[in-house]
């Protein structure tokens, strides 16, 4: 069907892999949020201030295929009526559209946790944002390297 272009993708991946090589096996450092993510979040946050922490976006740092990437977002919260997570949102940096999912939770949930699978068009940053019942917004930004099968259809 479509002709794969291994040359171009190879160069991009390779340069990123070389650059990220030093970080590959260490604890992933916090990332400064890319501009695209800040913009993507704006509709969700209403421009309000966000802080890093409380929310954790679990995802493999290197994925074999960007078509189905498992993610789990967990927020440290007692999930009581008085203190719970109202929403969890995930945004991507380099897909054609930056929204991924916006989940609305309730105190009926035992834990503020969401697991799903997402699509990543290429190596990029992702951010998970949690809105708590007190109105505060918390973020966690990660970088994911996306590889691709060498032999495509």
């Amino acid at each position: 069907m479509t002709t794969p272009v291994p040359g171009r993708a190879f160069f991009t991946r390779r340069s990123l892999l070389l650059a990220g090589g030093a970080l590959a096996f260490s604890v992933r450092p916090a990332h400064a949020m890319a501009d695209e993510l800040v913009a993507a979040m704006r509709a969700f946050t209403g421009g309000a201030a966000t802080r890093e922490g409380r929310v954790k976006l679990d995802i493999e740092p290197l994925v074999e295929n960007g078509n189905a990437v498992p993610i789990t977002v967990t927020v440290d919260s007692p999930m009581t009526g008085a203190d719970h997570v109202k929403q969890i949102a995930v945004f991507n940096q380099k897909n054609p559209q930056h929204d991924v999912i916006v989940a609305t939770l309730s105190p009926a949930l035992a834990q503020a946790r969401l697991a799903t699978r997402i699509r990543l068009a290429t190596t990029q940053q992702l951010v998970a944002v949690a809105r708590l019942s007190d109105g505060s917004l918390w973020t966690h930004t990660v970088e994911v390297v996306v590889t691709l099968a060498a032999c495509l259809e």
Partner: protein, 263 residues
């Protein structure tokens, strides 16, 4: 060594070829390793967990198909003759492709299913790699999950299997590569950032993330052939079944993982 020598003194050359074909690894090829072992932890978890494994949706469809009565002119479901697939189909996929004594040729599981439809259900064969055929093939193969691949010992298959091995080692396409070039000699190394698997046939039909759907071994082989810029074998061709037959023997002993998840 001693065992092989004693076989040669007892049996004929044919028996030796049949038996040693299963026991022996091709020279220079490392121990058999399923593609599962080379995947990341989260993909392995996706395959292992029947609720996360998208291939299980096809298995569920196949189960519904298995039990669907009034199929074709004979008004029979698969269950009408075969009963509970968990018992009747256990171990079946592990020995396919197998010899079809009626048509006197090797057939893979999908072809066998279609022959059943025509001969016993008076129904039209399903299109190749269409959803119905894939779902039922996945359901049937799934019943052998966990069992080691044990290629059929039918003597009539020996010649086709040897033909399959010749196809496996033959360089093809504009890139002039054979299956063996990558999957025997270079397995474990990387191609464009992705690990090269040994290319075993123990999880088919698989849910391939690249396809975002379940697909057959034939589809995967056609992918590979297009990948080296060769004219791919037609799905129902003698070459395709011969290659599948060799691949099944090459993967002998590995557990059936259907539906496997692969990138």
């Amino acid at each position: 060594m001693t065992m092989r020598a004693s076989r040669m003194t007892f049996g004929g050359l044919l028996a030796c070829a049949v038996l040693s074909a299963f026991a022996q690894q091709p020279a220079g090829v490392p121990a058999r390793r399923s593609g599962f072992d080379g995947m990341s932890a989260s993909l392995q978890a996706m395959q292992r967990d029947d609720l996360q494994n998208p291939g299980m949706l096809w298995v569920a469809d196949g189960e519904a198909s298995w039990n669907q009565a009034d199929v074709g002119g004979a008004g029979r479901s698969c269950a009408s003759c075969h009963g509970d697939a968990r018992h009747s189909m256990r171990g079946v996929a592990s020995r396919y492709p197998d010899w079809d004594p009626v048509d006197r040729q090797p057939v893979d599981l999908a072809q066998r299913i279609n022959r059943c439809r025509v001969r016993h259900q008076a129904a039209a064969p399903w299109p190749n790699d269409g959803k119905e055929l894939l779902s039922l093939e996945t359901f049937v193969a799934h019943q052998s999950r966990g069992q080691p691949l044990q290629p059929s010992g039918a003597p009539a298959l020996v010649e086709t299997r040897a033909h399959g091995q010749a196809l496996y080692t033959q360089r093809i396409g504009q890139l002039n590569l054979s299956c063996a070039t990558c999957h025997d000699a270079l397995a474990g190394r990387k191609l464009a950032g992705s690990p090269i698997p040994q290319g075993h046939a123990n999880g088919y039909p698989i849910y391939r993330l690249e396809w975002q759907a379940v697909g057959s071994l034939r589809r995967r082989i056609r992918n590979c052939m297009v990948g080296v810029r060769a004219e791919p074998f037609a799905p129902d061709s003698a070459e395709m079944v011969a290659l599948e037959l060799y691949l099944a023997q090459r993967s002998a002993g590995l557990p059936v993982e259907t539906p496997a998840v692969r990138p």
